[in-house]
């Protein structure tokens, strides 16, 4: 556990760099009328770290956050007012789903599935999205056989 504690402290040291990386996503999201302030990004990273801790995962870097912003900033259902809160909630749903689908769906693919449900079947409702994804995860595990991780390294 010592090694992980060190990692967390390094992650904190990299906070500034992470904030800048996510702020750069404003260039893309502005095309759809969305923007995050530095404070909002800071809060978002804090919420993400809490969520990672709750679900027992480790994330190094900002790739997932950037992908969530990239895909969801084009949503027809989100307004600038709720944009930051929804992005935070999507992080929570995403990491929960990574565990529920036993790491068998890649990051980008999972975000695309979430976006598709959100835009189509759920009509932009976060509550409906959570319910829909729960059913999806159960079916996914049933169809793929539980606890047979295909992701295996060398």
């Amino acid at each position: 556990m010592l090694s992980l504690m060190i990692l967390n402290s390094i992650n904190n040291a990299q906070k500034k760099q992470s904030i800048n990386e996510i702020l750069q996503m404003n260039v893309e999201s502005r095309k759809h009328g969305f923007e995050l302030t530095e404070k909002e990004v800071e809060q978002m990273l804090e919420a993400r770290d809490n969520c990672l801790q709750n679900v027992g995962r480790l994330e190094l870097g900002t790739d997932v956050s950037k992908s969530i912003i990239y895909y969801f900033s084009s949503s027809a259902y989100i307004t600038q007012q709720e944009y930051s809160a929804i992005i935070n909630e999507l992080h929570e749903v995403f990491y929960y789903m990574k565990n529920e689908t036993e790491d068998r769906i890649g990051d980008d693919e999972l975000i695309k599935i979430m976006k598709d449900f959100f835009e189509n079947a759920c009509g932009g409702s976060m509550e409906l999205l959570k319910g829909k994804l729960q059913i999806f995860a159960e079916d996914f595990r049933k169809n793929n056989g539980q606890s047979n991780l295909s992701i295996k390294g060398e």
Binding site: M1, L2, S3, L4, I6, L7, I10, N11, A13, Q14, L52, G56, R57, L58, E59, L60, G61, D63, V64, Y95, K98, N99, D103, I105, G106, D107, E109, I151, G153, E154
Partner: protein
């Protein structure tokens, strides 16, 4: 107060950062910590080095998830980071001096150290595989489950599962067969290599003896201690080394491992009233003769055998002290084993203070035979004997060893204690009871029943007779 010059401070720092102060199993982290403490490494340098480690981890997480995910479960991440640190440890340890390792950290050479270490881990894995293949070819043909399972199942399973990149630090193997000297402080593949090197040495020694002789000594060992030798965690090398040592010491032939009654007499004569200095000399002389007679020239094996000398000396001293030399040697004919004397019949109960002292001595004794020796010389009543069994001063096989020291009458007394309920209905049929599965709540009851199940029917009948007579 005089100010210390910079060179003086450097010297002090160098002294403080000695290799002994570093945790060998967390070498990198320990070096970073000590380096920071002594001022040899600045905060900035340490942070930079750790950031580089994180970059390696990031790459590996991507490799682990085949580029599909940037996050992993915490236990997976911890496993990977430990694997990374294990390789960096190997890289830093391979530097000629501790100072060079510190420079590598200061200069931010984490990736270079990782690559060097990884290459070392890979080479060690390859060497271990070769050692294993040679060992398997030359394995002893013995019916010892732990030996067999370790070579035929545990080690192949380890090689199949081990991953140089993601599992470098893991020793995921159920290696049950005990070595005489095993350095358990080493982890991962470096432990496996050490284990295989040592087992090869032990095997090379054992192969100097005829298979039949090895089989004979194992069977006799089981008979004497009333245990199924095939299921025990016995170190064959130690058994054989002991056998050859005592055979040579008693003027016998080196590869005849079991002693005759005549040889035992010679042994007693030679060791009677011997001084410590003389004992040292006689041990040296005997080990030397064993080596010459077996034509052993492998320096590593010679060194390994000599590591056994202090242990042998302690055992010999203890057995001479408590007059139980016969327990150190194995006889050609089990019947030649001198008759056991009773331990706890008709003796007086000791005071609580004395009892606590005896329990303490038993707990502190390292060798099972020493523990038995203390109990034999100090405990003289059934009550004290049972209190001793309940004092949690004995472990595992030591119980069986102690029970094997008891006479049939004493075994009967203990049987009566355990099967008091069964005896309310009349006489006890111990042979029949032993054929059933019996659950015991008390630890020593469990070991006692296990022991009774190993002894032959004739002896069981004698115990049964004793139990029934005691009832009357």
């Amino acid at each position: 107060m005089l100010q210390k010059s910079q060179s003086e401070i450097n010297v002090i720092n160098r002294i403080n950062l000695s290799i002994k102060s570093l945790n060998q199993n967390q070498y990198t982290l320990s070096l970073l910590k000590q380096g920071l403490r002594t001022g040899r490494i600045s905060n900035r340098e340490a942070e930079h080095f750790q950031l580089q480690i994180m970059d390696i981890l990031k790459d590996l997480i991507m490799r682990y998830t085949k580029g599909e995910s940037t996050s992993v479960k915490v236990d997976t991440a911890e496993n990977i980071i430990n694997s990374v640190l294990y390789s960096i440890d190997a890289g830093l340890k391979s530097q000629k001096e501790i100072e060079v390792a510190i420079e590598a950290i200061k200069e931010g050479l984490a990736k270079q150290m990782y690559d060097t270490g990884l290459a070392k881990v890979a080479a060690c894995f390859k060497e271990s595989q070769n050692l294993y293949l040679n060992l398997r070819k030359k394995r002893l043909k013995v019916e010892l489950e732990a030996y067999d399972c370790t070579i035929e199942e545990a080690l192949p399973a380890f090689f199949a599962k081990y991953g140089i990149v993601f599992d470098a630090h893991n020793t995921m193997a159920s290696i049950d067969y005990p070595l005489l000297f095993d350095d358990m402080s080493v982890k991962g593949i470096f432990y496996i290599r050490n284990y295989l090197r040592t087992l090869t040495l032990e095997n090379d020694f054992c192969r100097c003896f005829p298979e039949e002789e090895i089989k004979k000594i194992l069977i006799t060992f089981g008979q004497i201690y009333k245990i199924d030798y095939r299921k025990t965690l016995t170190n064959i090398f130690e058994l054989i080394l002991n056998g050859s040592f005592f055979s040579v010491l008693s003027d016998g032939i080196v590869n005849e491992l079991l002693l005759s009654s005549f040889q035992y007499e010679v042994l007693q004569r030679k060791l009677r009233g011997i001084s410590l200095r003389e004992l040292e000399l006689i041990i040296d002389k005997t080990i030397n003769k064993v080596l010459i007679d077996l034509n052993i020239s492998n320096c590593n094996l010679i060194e390994y055998i000599y590591r056994y000398k202090p242990l042998l000396k302690t055992r010999l001293l203890t057995s001479l002290e408590v007059k139980s030399l016969e327990k150190l040697v194995l006889f050609q004919d089990e019947m030649s084993t001198p008759e056991v004397e009773t331990i706890f019949i008709e003796g007086e109960r000791m005071t609580n203070q004395d009892f606590r002292r005896v329990v303490k001595n038993v707990m502190e004794a390292k060798e099972p035979m020493s523990k038995i020796g203390i109990i034999r010389s100090e405990i003289h009543s059934l009550e004290d004997f049972i209190d001793m069994l309940e004092a949690e001063a004995l472990f595992g096989d030591e119980y069986g060893l102690l029970f094997s020291e008891l006479s049939c009458l004493e075994l009967g007394l203990l049987t009566k204690v355990i099967f008091a309920d069964e005896m309310r209905d009349g006489l006890i049929n111990l042979v029949k009871i032993m054929s059933f599965r019996i659950d015991a709540d008390v630890e020593w009851h469990e070991y006692f029943i296990e022991y009774l199940k190993t002894i032959d029917t004739d002896k069981l009948r004698t115990i049964e007779d004793n139990v029934n007579e005691i009832k009357q």
